[in-house]
C-alpha cells in the first residue's frame, strides 16, 4: 500500500515523458497537439496526487482543454490559408 502512490506517480511521469516525446517528434501535427494535451491531462492528475486540487483544476481546464482546442483552431486557420497542392 505504501508503494502504491509512488508507483502510480512514476507511471504517470513515464506517460508524460512518452507523450512529450510524441508531441515533439511526431510526424502528424494533430497527433502532436493531442499528445501535448495529454501531457497536461496527466500533469493535472499528478497535481491531484500531490494534494493541490486547485492547480489540478486549472491545469485540466486551461492546459488540456482550452489550449488544445485553441491550437486546433489555429491549425485549421493555417491550413485554410495554404494553397492546395503545395504541401502534401
Amino acid at each position: 500500500m505504501i508503494y502504491l502512490l509512488p508507483a502510480l506517480s512514476g507511471l504517470l511521469c513515464f506517460t508524460m515523458l512518452v507523450a512529450a516525446v510524441v508531441a515533439i517528434g511526431g510526424r502528424s501535427m494533430s497527433i502532436a497537439i493531442l499528445a501535448a494535451g495529454l501531457v497536461s491531462l496527466v500533469a493535472s492528475v499528478l497535481f491531484l496526487i500531490l494534494a493541490s486540487p486547485d492547480v489540478a483544476m486549472t491545469e485540466a481546464a486551461i492546459g488540456s482543454g482550452l489550449t488544445t482546442f485553441l491550437l486546433f483552431f489555429v491549425l485549421g486557420r493555417v491550413r485554410a490559408g495554404e494553397h492546395d497542392g503545395e504541401q502534401p
Binding site: M57, L70, V74
Partner: protein, 230 residues
C-alpha cells in the same frame, strides 16, 4: 558536430541541476513561518475554509488583480490583431455530426452550471474564479464547435467583462475605507465558517473574477472563430 556537442552539454548541465535538486530533496517536517501563519490564522481572520482562496483573493489580492489585468491585456491584443482580418459574411456551413449537436445541447448547461458552482464555492471547496471562468469558457467552446457559424454578442461579452472589472476594483477600494486596506474582505460580515454566505467579500470578488475570466476567454475564442483570414 560542434552544435550537437553543445546541445548535449546543455542537456547534461540542466539534467545535473535537476538531479541535484531531486537527490537533495527532503520533505519539511513542519510548515515554515509564512505557511504556518496562513494555516493558523486564515479561518479566524478571514473566515474562509479554503486557505488557497484566502491567500489568492485577500492576502495576495493585489497580485490577483495584476493577473486579471494580464489576462485582459492578452484578450484585447488578440482582438486587436484579429480585427484586421476579414469577416466572411456568408460562409458555407460545415457539416457537424449529430452526436456533437445533441451532446452539446445536453452538456453545455451542465458545464456552465459547474463553472458557476466552482467560482461561487471558491471559499469553501478547491477552485475559484480562474478555474470556474475557464470551465465556462470551455462550455462556450463546445457551443462554437457544434455550430461554427454561431455569432456571439461582442458588446454583451465586453459589458460583462468591464462591469466585473469595475466592481472588482470598487470592492477593493471599499476595503480601504471600511476595513483594513485595499481588497480587504472584511467589508461584509464574516459569517459562520463553512457557510456559503461567509468569508466576507471573498465569494463576491471570486464570482466577479469568474465572470471576467470567462468573458475574456470567450471573447478570445469568438474572435478566433469569426475571423476568416488575416
Amino acid at each position: 558536430m560542434i552544435k550537437r556537442f553543445i546541445a548535449l552539454a546543455l542537456v547534461v548541465a540542466v539534467g545535473s541541476v535537476f538531479a541535484t535538486l531531486l537527490f537533495g530533496y527532503t520533505p519539511d517536517a513542519d510548515l515554515n513561518l509564512t505557511a504556518r501563519y496562513y494555516a493558523e490564522r486564515t479561518a479566524a481572520d478571514l473566515g474562509a475554509a479554503n486557505i488557497v482562496t484566502a491567500i489568492v483573493v485577500t492576502y495576495r489580492g493585489l497580485d490577483t488583480l495584476g493577473e486579471v489585468t494580464v489576462l485582459f491585456l492578452s484578450a484585447s491584443i488578440v482582438g486587436l490583431v484579429l480585427a484586421k482580418g476579414t469577416h466572411a459574411p456568408h460562409r458555407t456551413p460545415v457539416p457537424v455530426g449529430e452526436l456533437l449537436t445533441t451532446g452539446t445541447r445536453f452538456l453545455v448547461p451542465l458545464i456552465l452550471l459547474l463553472g458557476v458552482y466552482v467560482f461561487v464555492n471558491g471559499h469553501l471547496t478547491p477552485g475559484g474564479g480562474f478555474q470556474g471562468g475557464a470551465i465556462i469558457a470551455s462550455g462556450i467552446l463546445l457551443l462554437l464547435l457544434a455550430d461554427p457559424l454561431k455569432h456571439f454578442s461582442h458588446s454583451l461579452i465586453s459589458a460583462i467583462e468591464s462591469l466585473a472589472g469595475i466592481f472588482y476594483v470598487m470592492i477593493g477600494l471599499a476595503g480601504l475605507f471600511l476595513a483594513g486596506g485595499f481588497l480587504d474582505n472584511r467589508i461584509l460580515p464574516l459569517g459562520t465558517l463553512g457557510n456559503l454566505a461567509s468569508a466576507g467579500a471573498i465569494p463576491l470578488i471570486y464570482s466577479l473574477i469568474g465572470l471576467k475570466v470567462g468573458a475574456e476567454f470567450a471573447s478570445i475564442l469568438a474572435a478566433l472563430s469569426e475571423t476568416e483570414e488575416l
